[in-house]
Subunit: 370 residues, 2 copies
């Protein structure tokens, strides 16, 4: 098992430049390559390493083989003013998600709130990317995506729905934005590997065995399925996501959604929902931000238990970003080798790692929004 101790560090701008060339070499326009490169860099800066460069080889293969579209033309299928249904043209999820949120903000600018439900997309990375896209422009945002079923409902024996992610963002002036990004399962599968390697049990309520029976054995969990947060509560919320993404868009839902890992040669049919709204509609921006200050401070000043910390949504990601902007983004050796093989195949210069003696220092640039 590799750990972050085997990791090299990469400067954020170096990584961004490398990714821009990589996506360009895969046929994307400059604007699209920039959008995708920024999305990957920001994800790794936040420390959401499960959704960053680790996914590059899969994205690249699917782009190269024209399974997914690197320059999608997102079409408006229906428009009621503040609610649109879009078709993602089987595009790279970063690009479809970005365009859908752009349209939701456009509608929110005109009507106070705007929502886009979009079909025929693909894996869009971390949902918080699109929440942040809206927060930067002063909007609150709600983001959802459906994923292939991997979660067993209370009483069920097989997955019937995905651990569909929900993100929510809100502007603040306190150093970091409110950015919640959660899936509807209690935990992700990575925790089972960790428990297994440590020979520890996992709590009941995390997973089932392959027959859908709740288990505390991480080995059985790895052969089994995920369980929802709060039992029927997370199950119900997962269905809500699929209704707003897959059902009303005329797109794909439940088992018709494909995984880019188990079905690499097919577009996934993933659907998203992007909603933006103006939080200052009554108060104006400044008074709204005053209230957010009060909201945050009352939580941060409340007592914590001994040896505990309490974090607001987005706080840990922001701290990780500041650290990685200064120290670089860790990329473990095996992934670095894989990415540099990919670069060679595409005729792109290899990804440079940092000589730590001259690592750049500086404040969080991307987050300097106010």
């Amino acid at each position: 098992m590799t750990t972050m101790n085997d990791a090299k560090r990469v400067n954020r701008d170096v990584l961004g430049g490398f990714l821009f060339k990589l996506f360009s070499s895969l046929g994307m326009t400059g604007e699209n390559a920039r959008t995708c490169a920024d999305a990957v860099v920001l994800t790794n800066l936040w420390g959401i390493d499960s959704h960053g460069i680790v996914r590059l080889p899969t994205y690249a293969r699917r782009l190269r083989e024209n399974v997914i579209n690197g320059n999608p033309k997102v079409r408006v299928l229906a428009d009621s003013g503040a609610l649109r249904i879009l078709d993602g043209d089987e595009g790279m999820g970063f690009l479809v998600g970005h365009e859908a949120m752009h349209q939701a903000m456009e509608m929110a600018g005109a009507h106070g709130i705007g929502m886009a439900s979009v079909r025929n997309s693909n894996h869009f990375g971390a949902a918080s990317l699109y929440a942040w896209q809206a927060v930067k422009e002063g909007f609150m945002a709600l983001v959802m995506s459906n994923v292939r079923p991997n979660m067993v409902a209370p009483g069920g024996a097989e997955p019937v729905t995905g651990n569909n992610p929900i993100a929510f963002g809100a502007p603040t002036r306190l150093g970091f934005p409110f950015l919640l990004d959660i899936s509807m399962s209690t935990v992700a599968g990575g925790k089972f590997f960790l428990a297994q390697s440590r020979e520890e049990k996992i709590p009941f309520g995390w997973a089932t065995d392959k027959d859908g029976k709740p288990t505390d054995d991480p080995g059985k969990a790895l052969e089994g399925f995920l369980l929802p947060i709060g039992g029927h509560k997370g199950f119900g919320l997962s269905l809500v996501v699929d209704l707003l993404c897959g059902v009303i868009s005329g797109g794909t839902f439940q088992h018709r959604i494909l995984s880019m890992y188990t079905s690499p040669d097919s577009t996934s049919g993933t659907c998203h929902m992007m909603l933006a709204l103006d939080p200052g509609v009554l108060l104006g921006e400044s008074a709204y931000l005053d209230r957010m200050d009060t909201f945050y401070r009352s939580i941060k000043s409340s007592p914590v238990r001994a040896e505990s910390c309490m974090y607001l949504p987005g706080e840990i990601e922001h701290a990780t970003m500041l650290r990685r902007e200064s120290d670089g983004i860790p990329v473990h050796d095996e992934l670095l080798r894989e990415i540099n093989c990919l670069a060679r195949d595409l005729g792109v210069e290899a990804l440079d790692t940092i000589d730590q003696t001259r690592a750049p220092r500086g404040p969080g640039r991307i987050l300097n929004h106010r």
Copy 2:
């Protein structure tokens, strides 16, 4: 401890008529008394007995003493077309919630989606009432309300946020609507009483003791606080509810919200959020409903574990309603006595219970929406 075995049964129409007279005698207009009576009857028909007639004595006391307004004039404070901020005029929550959802639907009719955030309201009962109000008219709906903090965040020692409810509704044609109604805590406090009476432990993750430390002792939980579903996930969602209800409306949030039980002589400052959208914007109603059929059937036909059942959101409530429309609504003796004392004080005829030999039989009238 009283159980449902000590309960009398009341016919739904008899209860509705009684409640109409009761709310009328408290000064409500006929329309308002009807809205409140219908809300309470439906809540008990669904089996959500924690939010039905059990709350009548408290509602009545607050109405009688003019703490809350039985005929509120809900005012529009800001209007961006599809997003409005409303003031609830310190009204009875049923009435404020009903009017806010009415306005959300009006906006959704014009723009595809509509949202109302409303301040200065009070306890509005079960959130699913308003989701159902929209579903009856063919809309999907999202409903939220903030409540006084009762939930400890991961790492925290004191409640910083409420187990704020979220409801979601969607039209179907399969006999029962999609109606999810969940709070953000793992369980409600009633489960601690039950475990204590049975001398059972409760799972870690349900509650803390009075110092905010997670406990498996139901007695300590009763002195302590609730814990969120999925740890930081339910905590984060609870904050989202308060942002959309209390913060953007210019209303009350976190500890400034009061409880009608601990502060019976003050209006609560409760805030709600009502969102409605047209699920047929692309597909039209019929094709949308076809897709909902497919969505439901694929879940209901999936295998369940031995001796288990799998329910869709709203399914149990619908079954309870059919049973209670036929057999009556159970009201335990102690509550019946309390309600009849209240009726006598207000000069309203006592609540009649059913002679089971002539209990009415019939299909679910309220739910006959398609």
